[in-house]
């Protein structure tokens, strides 16, 4: 039987006594993609970790701390930009119980932890570049001693002029955050598709605006921490809260100057990550590891909330200049976009974040002519980093405001206008990528407009002149799955079945709340093997598992579980072959379902799962496998931003209904309706949880969360009192999501990414709803009561 799978020719061996098992991941992924009925996939199976978490028995990093372990306290810079003339540790060392003070010069390996660019030290060296940068580590027998001594470390600074505004930083050459770069531009991106002059000449309406978005703190409830234990398991073992154990492992190895194989990283349950612990996690781990390495003793670091907020990377603040045009027929003709990201003191993942914003700048629409320029700009502030959405919520906010304004000028309904331009299979993106499959957004938006009552509400609202004004707005967004452009991405996992029939999958994917290892991974293994789900355990977050990439970019299931599926599918092929011999049938006729192994159509010819596994052990069938899969990537030309940007995109839309109090400026989100086209929904309950959580985190970002810096770039509200996040009283009604299961050919059972999705259109949906309510275009986030009050005043909306 010859099968053609998306252009690759693969085949099952026709027959023969000694038939090799199928091990080709393309064949296995495709085979399970075509499954028609499911045992556990698509069901709201409860996650395995819920009980122990609800009972307070689940262990997080701090729960592994015991007395007798050294405590590490960080010394943070009090200058935004200064040369370090000297560090005097004498007084600190004289304090009781102090063991050591560690500075850059103590680092045995490389003091270099830059992620995208080699611009960042673990401990400041030569100069500090933001208020809050880590300069030294004070190590003491207990927390109080470390804290006290940390105040006695004397750093002699020679202040340098500092720069906080990214537009100013872009122009100036006399104040440089990184002298060796020669300017404050860390990175540039560019897209050139078609000819924008020609595109704008065909436009009947043109809209041009400047948008501004602000920083956001992740505010994961568990602050960063790490415990490093020398010699445990023959290596330096680090228990830490990081989103990619293998990245933490390699960064520790680099800092210590030892092979990665000397380092083991374990990530236990994590109290939230949202991208923040993807960036900060490895650094936290490296500080504990460095201390343990230098002292030879178990060492523990735990950030206070203030330390966490001062030091860890934030969602980028942006300035986006956006010009777009459309013809009278309602078709977009061109966009010209300039994106400026304030990357702060270090580039970190800034170049990748900027690329993602650049590639997604159009929104999920077909635009024939596009020009996009991106700038990642250094300033003397805490640096930007990964945060759910990764550069995309800000640019979708701008793109979707433009769509509303164009629709208004054309006299069209915003949803109608969007549908006319929406990406569909057969159309190209602004990178000229041809979308060949898995594009379900138009269907999702049509359904969403119906369930939310969009058309009637859009007409009814937005006309009130009273104190309370209602509005309804939509945000539609897209988000590429996997790494952008040609950046390599792969999945892997290791699965073994023990003699008693119990199954363990080992993955580097972590559990930080999203639940992929404790729900979808288990479901996928149970579905593919046919083993009872109770017998399946997933050991997550360990660098001893094969490297299958990070738990970020909504990839925990969409990419992370490909390896799980492939490994399970390899073993399943072997089991089917064995069972066919035992039951006297062909391998294709073998059914394994919930612990029973039988011949299709003849349930009586059966053995149990346990019996099958016993036979496998006695007959030499290998019940262990890895599931390596390297994602195929097309060509991409970075110089013009043209080519294959992502293997597929997830699509998401949100409609929000708001009420604005024009006297106090307070905006209340009354209800949101989400829609998701993210391929197969493996676990609807968990997907719903991701959507609800992201929607509320997005609402917090738009309406209340705001980091305030003083004129030295010092964060003024590094605590939960003055940095306000949503509580139970703030949450809107959230409708059941609309799902369009537009399967992704390489996803496990066709799944695409979910975790970030609902946050991405939230700023756009809410801002468009507020704009609708007031009849005034909102171009700046956050939409605090103060901001609304000034808009109302400026436009004379109330007497």
């Amino acid at each position: 039987m010859i099968r053609f799978i998306f252009g690759r020719r693969n085949y099952y061996p026709s027959s023969g006594e000694i038939m090799a098992s199928i091990e080709d991941p393309y064949v296995l992924i495709d085979k399970w993609l075509r499954a028609k009925e499911f045992i556990v996939v698509g069901k709201g199976v409860a996650r395995t970790d819920a009980f122990e978490k609800a009972l307070g028995k689940a262990k997080y990093v701090e729960d592994y701390f015991q007395s007798g372990i050294l405590f590490i306290k960080q010394v943070l810079s009090t200058e935004p930009h200064a040369r370090i003339k000297g560090i005097n540790v004498e007084e600190a060392l004289r304090k009781p119980k102090v063991v050591r003070v560690i500075t850059a010069s103590d680092i045995p390996g490389e003091n270099q932890v830059g992620y995208a660019l080699p611009d960042q030290p673990l401990l400041a060296e030569g100069k500090v570049r933001f208020h809050g940068e880590v300069v030294a580590l004070v190590v003491a027998e207990d927390i109080d001693a470390a804290l006290e001594a940390s105040e006695s470390v004397r750093i002699n600074y020679e202040p340098l002029p500092h720069i906080l505004d990214p537009l100013e930083a872009l122009q100036r050459k006399d104040v440089l955050v990184h002298e060796e770069v020669g300017s404050n531009i860390a990175f540039r991106t560019r897209i050139r598709k078609g000819n924008v002059e020609e595109g704008f000449s065909k436009a009947d309406v043109i809209v041009e605006n400047e948008y501004r978005t602000h920083h956001q703190d992740h505010l994961y409830l568990e602050p960063e921490g790490a415990l490093a234990i020398p010699g445990l398991d023959g290596r330096l073992t680090v228990i830490t809260a990081a989103q990619y154990p293998h990245l933490a492992q390699s960064i520790i190895a680099r800092v210590l100057g030892v092979p990665a194989s000397d380092i083991k990283v374990i990530v236990p349950y994590m109290g939230g990550g949202f991208g923040g612990k993807d960036d900060e996690g490895p650094l936290t781990a490296a500080k504990a590891a460095l201390t343990a390495y230098l002292t030879g003793r178990p060492s523990f670091i735990l950030y206070t909330r203030e330390e966490s907020m001062r030091t860890h990377p934030k969602r980028e603040a942006t300035i986006i200049k956006y010009k777009s045009g459309a013809a009278r027929d309602g078709k977009l003709t061109a966009i010209d976009v300039t994106i400026i990201h304030d990357t702060g003191a270090y580039a970190n993942r800034g170049p990748f974040i900027l690329w993602r914003a650049t590639v997604h700048a159009s929104g999920p629409y077909h635009v024939p002519h596009a020009k996009v320029d991106g700038y990642c700009v250094y300033t003397n502030k805490v640096y930007q980093g990964s945060f759910r959405g990764f550069g995309n919520p800000s640019v979708q906010f701008a793109a979707e405001a433009q769509m509303d304004e164009l629709a208004r000028k054309l006299g069209m309904d915003p949803v109608e206008f969007r549908l006319r331009n929406m990406l569909r299979p057969g159309l190209t993106t602004i990178t000229n990528q041809l979308l060949d499959h898995s594009v379900g957004i138009a269907d999702a938006v049509e359904q969403l407009a119906k369930v939310s009552g969009w058309y009637s509400k859009r007409r009814e609202y937005g006309v009130s002149t009273g104190r309370f004004r209602r509005g309804i707005g939509i945000g539609v967004a897209w988000h590429g799955i996997s790494t952008s452009r040609g950046v390599p991405d792969w999945s892997n996992a290791y699965i073994k079945i023990d003699k008693d029939g119990s199954v363990t999958a080992f993955t580097g994917i972590v559990e930080m709340g999203q639940g992929s290892p404790t729900s979808s991974h288990r479901q996928i293994v149970a579905e593919v093997l046919g083993a009872p789900i109770e017998k399946i355990k997933v050991t997550f977050g360990t660098s001893d598992a094969p490297d299958g990439g990070a738990t970020h970019a909504s990839r925990g299931t969409s990419i992370g579980a490909i390896g799980v599926l492939v490994a399970a599918a390899k073993i399943r092929e072997r089991l089917n072959k064995l069972a066919s011999e035992l039951l006297n049938c062909s391998p294709d006729e073998v059914v394994i379902r919930e612990g029973k192994v039988y011949v299709r159509g003849d349930v009586e010819r059966s053995i149990t799962w346990e019996e099958l596994i016993k036979h496998a052990y006695s007959r030499g069938v290998d019940l262990s496998a890895t599931g390596y899969f390297f994602l195929p990537k097309g060509k991409f030309d970075d110089t013009v931003g043209q080519g294959q940007a992502y293997p597929a995109f997830s699509y998401v839309a949100m409609i929000a209904e708001v009420e604005v109090d024009t006297e106090t400026g307070k905006v209340r989100v009354l209800k949101v309706w989400p829609a998701l086209a993210a391929g197969r929904i493996i676990n609807p309950q968990q997907v719903e949880g991701q959507i609800e959580g992201a929607a509320v985190q997005g609402m917090g970002y738009v309406l209340m969360e705001q980091l305030v810096f003083d004129d030295k770039g010092r964060l003024l509200n590094p605590d939960l009192t003055d940095y306000v996040v949503p509580t139970a009283l703030d949450v809107p009604e959230i409708a059941k999501p609309v799902y369009v299961e537009d399967l992704f050919k390489y996803g496990p059972f066709g799944a695409k990414g979910v975790g970030e999705m609902a946050l991405i259109p939230a700023p756009a949906a809410i801002a468009n709803a507020v704009s609708h309510a007031l009849g005034v275009r909102i171009t700046k986030l956050p939409i605090t009561p103060e901001a609304v009050y000034f808009e109302v005043k400026k436009h004379g909306l109330i007497k």
Partner: protein, 155 residues
Amino acid sequence: MYVKVSFKLNGEDVTVDVEPNEILLDTLRLKLGIKSVKRGCERAECGACTVLLNGSPVYSCTLLTVQIDGMEVRTLEGIQDTPEVKALVSKFVEAGAVQCGFCTPGFIVTAYALIKKGVEPTPENIKKALEGNICRCTGYKKIIEAVTKAVESIK
């Protein structure tokens, strides 16, 4: 300088030597092995460290241990076998109200106090009672659902 403090913890009398500036959260976590109380903000904002002090939910991060001499402290460990907590836990699991789980013990202790107080379980009352607990993962919807169902199930 240590101070001797005696209180009732989960029904048992305990006496501990504490620093005058020691917070109850540290005494519980580091000296008494109570790990369900979580350290989130140390500023009486997030509620991850919630315990019951003489029956009422309080933040253990801003309470000095010396302040509670002679009082009664109950943590999730001490109420886990009550019908209220059993119902709450099972409804949290069923509803999908647990994600990272760091805030969950605090929510359950607060919800337990709400049930014990016999408050009418309207959505408004439940939201108000839970206002002092922050969850950054779930968006609260499933937590509110779970608490509502738990209250109904033990009525």
